[in-house]
């Protein structure tokens, strides 16, 4: 692991609880339970774990969309404020951007691709008019779209195209870190592969740092150098991708790996019942 100076993300002791319901239906969920991790500048860390393990919450706290109960996030050398002011949020936008899971929801359905990307360019780089047009075409080109797509509304694009636009919009702010929360989960497998390749290329070209969240282990090897495994809000294992996937140490990682569907995969009832008994025990 790298030294502190090279870590663009440093997370320590992060805790976050959610309380839902009232009275007797009141329940508390520990979405993040003392999570600490670091991400080296220019690397890609994959965060894996089953549904509800706290991956999205980690991402949302990291980018500042959600407040942690305890713990600290240091991004690009500066602590992420709990109640950021406007100037702070603007400055933060150049540090970190996020790509969301749902491609259709992450674009404003009434604004064209051009307007969506142009807004970011105007806000952060004071680029407008024909300069902006050129930058927009550049960005679209980088994500594999054509200039003709600039005039399209999100509803006129496919899911894969929408996600490419969302990536282009995130890149427009020229952030150092890109948080991708299940960014390819909603796409079908061939489109998934295209977008993953695209993301790998972009990272290399721009020396970006990725926090890549997924519940799909088959995706992990394609994109990431390192993996952390999350379970019930805790990090249970961390290591290089090959090490974690080929020689997992934590039984939960083994379970995750063995229950991932792959070619020739047959459901094994024993594993499924393992998971459900495991979950039941957790809730008791």
């Amino acid at each position: 692991m790298s030294t502190t100076a090279e870590n663009v993300i440093e997370i320590s002791g992060l805790c976050k609880q959610f309380t839902t319901g009232r009275g007797r239906k009141r329940r508390t969920v520990r979405a993040l339970d003392d999570v600490s991790l670091t991400v080296a500048d220019g690397s890609c860390l994959a965060v894996v774990g089953e549904s509800g393990s706290g991956k999205s919450t980690l991402a949302r706290v990291l980018v500042g969309l959600e407040r942690a109960d305890a713990g600290e996030v240091v991004l690009a050398g500066r602590p992420v404020a709990q109640r950021p002011r406007r100037a702070e949020r603007r400055a933060r936008a150049r540090d970190v951007q996020m790509v969301f899971q749902d491609p259709s929801g992450s674009l404003n359905r009434r604004r064209t691709v051009e307007a969506a990307i142009g807004e970011v360019l105007a806000a952060h780089h004071r680029v407008t008019g024909s300069d902006a047009r050129r930058r927009i075409d550049d960005l679209l080109d980088q994500v594999g779209l054509r200039p003709a797509h600039a005039r399209a509304l999100p509803g006129e694009l496919s899911g894969g195209q929408q996600q490419r636009v969302a990536i282009a919009r995130a890149l427009a702010a020229e952030p150092r870190v890109l948080v991708l929360d299940e960014a390819v989960a909603a796409l079908d497998v061939s489109v998934q592969a295209q977008v993953l390749n695209l993301l790998a290329e972009i990272r290399r070209a721009r020396r970006l740092t990725y926090l890549f969240i997924t519940h799909d282990l088959s995706v992990v090897r394609q994109v990431s150098d390192e993996v952390v495994v999350m379970r019930r809000g805790q990090v249970v294992e961390r290591g290089s991708t090959d090490q974690v996937l080929d020689h997992p140490r934590h039984p939960y990682t083994v379970l995750l790996r063995d229950s991932a569907p792959r070619p020739g995969w047959r459901p094994r009832l024993s594993i499924n019942s393992d998971i459900s008994s495991d979950t039941a025990e957790a809730e008791a």
Binding site: V63, A93, N108, R111, E119, H149, A152, Q161
Partner: protein
């Protein structure tokens, strides 16, 4: 991924869809609204007489070539008065709907953007306003600020705000949770910009639906207030006021004025509620 795939068939289909979606009743309602609006706009051109001047010798006349719908107790031309009455009736209701829609949208956006305590506080204030019946609030305003169209219009608008705000708040909250709003937040855009540029355009359909539904109610409430003598003041022509002024003639066997003005109110209100229902129905059916 070619330019051809970017065509917009939805836009081309829109005209034909509209007629199908409205149905016969909806088309009739739209035509009625269009006619009333035209009548109000071009009243000075269409009217055959000055609506406020009559001669006592010509009172209570039946329909004739000179007076198409007859005259009232002061010998004023009823046809002309109905045309001008459309102006005050539509204008008052439009102002109510505009203010109520605008106020409701502002409250909804503020509640959705800040959430938590601000949302809870605004919810309480709206609950308090809900407790007052619309007309009571308007009558209260008249007691304080005096009679007149402006006073009752503003009072009614305030009493309508809770209704619009409640509906718009829930739609604005739904938008607020969508990823595009959070993406805009992450770009460092201010709450004002995100609310006005991103959320507002996406709740416009619901603002319009509310406006169409409230328009009918506002017309009835304003007519009722004018009928009670609190709103539009004589000699100005207004449908609600005309119903009230026709009361005495009614007893003397000349029901035209009250009946004609009453019919105008009923038909206009029905037309607006049909359109409002169509808009609301499409939203309810479109997504849930």
């Amino acid at each position: 991924m070619s330019a051809e795939t970017l065509a917009r068939p939805a836009a081309r289909r829109r005209g034909g869809d509209l007629a199908v979606w409205l149905g016969p009743l909806g088309i009739a309602a739209a035509v009625i609204i269009a006619l009333i609006t035209l009548a109000a706009l071009f009243a000075p051109l269409i009217a055959t007489h000055d609506p406020d001047i009559g001669s006592v010798v010509q009172r209570y006349q039946g329909p004739s070539a000179e007076h198409l719908l007859g005259t009232d107790q002061s010998g004023r031309d009823l046809f002309s008065r109905l045309l001008y009455g459309a102006r005050t009736s539509l204008f008052g209701a439009a102002v109510v709907v505009l203010l109520a829609g605008g106020g409701g949208a502002v409250l909804a956006l503020v509640a959705a953007w800040f959430g938590r305590n601000v949302d809870a506080f605004l919810g309480r204030v709206l609950d308090l306003l809900f407790a007052f019946p619309n007309l009571l609030l308007a009558i209260l305003a008249v007691a304080v600020f005096g009679t007149g169209l402006a006073q009752v219009t503003i009072a009614l608008a305030i009493s309508y705000v809770p209704y619009t705000a409640r509906v718009l708040r829930s739609v604005a909250l739904r938008e607020r949770r969508l990823a595009y709003v959070q993406a805009a937040e992450l770009q460092g855009l201010s709450g004002l910009v995100v609310s006005l540029r991103h959320i507002l355009p996406n709740i416009v359909p619901q603002i319009l639906t509310g406006a169409a539904i409230n328009f009918g109610y506002a017309m009835i409430d304003l007519a009722a207030l004018s009928f009670l003598g609190l709103g539009v003041q004589p000699p100005t022509a207004d449908w609600g006021l005309m119903v009230s002024q026709g009361k005495d003639s009614l007893l003397q066997g000349y029901p035209q004025q009250s009946m004609l003005a009453g019919t105008c109110i009923v038909v206009a209100v029905a037309a607006f509620s049909v359109i409002g229902e169509r808009l609301g129905g499409r939203k309810a059916g479109g997504r849930a």
